[in-house]
């Protein structure tokens, strides 16, 4: 291997390693991208908000619930629909019941449509990604506190907030022992 070839070789190996790490960099980049564009209706972040004067506009919000993998839980919103004043803080609740005979750990992931509007759906308090420990046949209330940002475009139609409940007991088997 002459020096020129050696140099080419090392540069290319370095580039290969860079591209491998780049694939991992795509993960935070993607989250950032989702945050900006509302891709997939991701609304993971609970953001601090500036309280402003509520606007005169009203908007309809629908609440939706899903259960992943047909897990043995009942999970639904207390209110299916609310008409809210833009810029004002509201509270609502979801109910979850463990219908199985064993204790369970669950977590929920949120999603908003239209995706482009999710950035205006400000969640002040949210149970998303919290691990909920629910005993057999127990029912829990899960609260959401939210506000619709005054920046929301005038022509926005109704928003839909959806939570999907996952049974993650198996993944957290150690915690399950402590539960008992």
């Amino acid at each position: 291997m002459n020096t020129k070839t050696k140099k080419t070789y090392y540069i290319l190996v370095a580039f290969t390693i860079f591209m491998f790490s780049f694939s991992y960099m795509l993960v935070p980049l993607y989250d950032l991208f989702c945050d900006i564009t509302g891709l997939n209706g991701k609304t993971n972040k609970v953001k601090a908000i500036v309280i402003e004067e509520p606007s005169e506009r009203f908007i309809k919000i629908k609440f939706v619930s899903n259960v992943a993998q047909s897990a043995p839980v009942k999970f639904y919103p207390i209110e299916k629909e609310m008409t809210v004043q833009i810029g004002k803080i509201y509270n609502t609740k979801y109910l979850i019941t463990n219908t199985s005979k064993t204790n369970m750990i669950t977590t929920a992931s949120p999603s908003v449509v239209p995706g482009e509007m999710s950035q205006y759906f400000r969640k002040i308090e949210c149970f998303c990604f919290n691990h909920q420990e629910i005993k057999s046949n127990e029912t829990k209330e899960l609260g959401v506190q939210f506000m619709i940002d005054t920046e929301i475009p005038n022509d926005a139609d109704s928003l839909i907030l959806s939570y999907t409940m996952f049974d993650i007991t198996e993944k957290n088997i150690n915690k399950k022992v402590s539960l008992k």
Binding site: N40, K62, N66, A68, V113, D157, I160, S162, T164
Partner: protein, 266 residues
């Protein structure tokens, strides 16, 4: 060529009685499906013209510029002028395509002002439908006849099964002339809800919701199936939409509600 294929087929498949030679996309019965169809045909004709021009020049060259005819090769190997021309012209054609495509896409992605919301959840391997405003929910899976006939070596002639693989136990009933917002999600793996005559498909993704809209202009029964590989029975989760006039739809809704109350009371 065609005759050979035909002879081949008629010897190989005497079972096929009704030949179906559908070669194109259905125009469909919703504004979105019609817009997609029109765009499809427009781009198709443009590509056909491009194809005829390019292949025509090539064919002419193949026929005339051959050594066996004693044709002497020219020596030219570049021309900035023609190269610029055949860079710019395709670019202009593309702009011509992009404008109607953009307009259509904006129309398709606008789910505002819909009257009812249908939530569709994909399961391995069936669909769940929830009518958010009317609190109706049910599962819909492949019908019994198809399900029996589809087994490996079932010895049932699938040509005799009515709507083989395109029939369900509980069809979705939807009103015509109504903008319907469809929310899509999945319980386990990716699925995609697709009825060609109602327009495009969208993926159903576990943990997330997607949305699309349809507005069915003609009553009728429309069939489709899951369009994203979702495991071994991916081919066996059909979709049947029964589109009925609004008044009939409201009747159907009240019957569903009555049934639910009746089952609850029992």
């Amino acid at each position: 060529m065609k005759i050979i294929i035909f002879v081949l087929l008629s010897t190989l498949m005497p079972a096929v009685v009704v030949a179906d030679w559908e070669t194109n996309m259905p125009r469909g019965v919703t504004p979105t499906s019609i817009a997609a169809y029109d765009l499809h045909m427009l781009i198709f004709y443009i590509t056909v013209v491009i194809g005829i021009l390019v292949f025509g020049v090539m064919l002419y060259s193949i026929i005339h510029h051959r050594k066996s005819k004693g044709y002497q090769a020219a020596t030219f190997h570049e021309s900035t002028k023609v190269e610029i021309i055949w860079t710019v012209i395709p670019f202009l054609i593309l702009i011509g395509m992009a404008i109607p495509a953009t307009k259509t896409l904006i129309m398709m992605e606008d789910t505002r002002n819909s009257e009812i919301t249908l939530k569709v959840t994909g399961y391995q391997w069936m669909w769940k439908y929830e009518y958010l405003e009317d609190d109706i929910a049910f599962f819909s899976k492949i019908d019994k006849d198809s399900n029996k006939a589809r087994r490996l070596n079932s010895s049932i002639d699938v040509n005799k099964v009515e709507h083989y693989l395109r029939n369900v136990d509980n069809p979705v009933v939807l009103p015509t002339n109504t903008k319907i917002r469809i929310l899509l999600t999945a319980s386990d793996v990716l699925h995609a809800w697709w009825v060609p005559e109602l327009g495009g498909k969208k993926d159903a993704i576990p943990g997330y919701i997607n949305e699309m809209w349809i507005d069915i202009k003609e009553p009728g029964i429309y069939r489709g199936q899951c369009a994203e590989l979702c495991g071994k029975d991916h081919a066996f989760m059909p979709i049947v939409v029964k589109a009925v006039p609004k008044s009939e739809y409201h009747k159907w809704v009240s019957i569903q509600k009555d049934n639910r109350i009746a089952t609850k009371e029992n």
